[in-house]
Symmetry: C2
Subunit: 85 residues, 2 copies
C-alpha cells in the first residue's frame, strides 16, 4: 500500500502528542502561577480562548510564531514554554 | 465592515513574518555550521525538503512540535532555534 506523502509513522505521531501535552501544560502552569485567566491571556496574546483551552490540554498545536505571542503575554522568554518538563 | 474572526492586525502579521525569518535563519545557520545538507536534515527530521527550504527562508511556519524534530535532527535543544538573533 503506497504511503501517502506525510503519512506519519505512529512513533512520530506519539512524540508530537507528547510535545503538545508538555508545552500545553507548561503554558497552563505559567499562566496559573501568574494568576492570569484564560480570557486575559487570550486577549493579550491574540490566541482565541477556545484555541488556548485546546492548546493547554495538548489537544491542539500552534504555529511556532504564536508561541512567541503567548510568551510575550506571559512576560517570559519563549524558550520557557519549550523547556522539557 | 465586520472583521472576520482572526483577521489579523498588520502589526501582528509583520511580527509573525519577522519571527519566521529569524527562526528560519537560525535553522539554516545551525544546519550549515554542522555541514548538513537540506536533504539530510529533511530526511532526519521528517520535514520535507520543500517545506524546509520555505521555513529556512522565513516564507513558511511550522507547528511547534516540528521544531523539536528539527532540533533533534540538528542535535541541539529546541530552545536554540528560538533564540533571539
Amino acid at each position: 500500500m503506497p504511503t501517502r506523502p506525510g503519512q506519519t509513522d505512529p512513533e512520530r505521531a506519539a512524540a508530537w502528542a507528547q510535545r503538545r501535552i508538555d508545552v500545553g501544560f507548561r503554558i497552563r502552569t505559567l499562566r496559573t502561577e501568574l494568576g492570569i485567566t484564560q480570557e486575559a491571556l487570550a486577549l493579550k496574546s491574540g490566541v482565541t480562548r477556545n484555541v488556548l483551552i485546546d492548546v493547554e490540554h495538548g489537544r491542539r498545536s500552534l504555529l511556532y510564531e504564536r508561541l512567541f505571542d503567548l510568551a510575550d503575554a506571559l512576560g517570559v522568554p519563549v524558550t520557557e514554554l519549550m523547556q522539557n518538563p
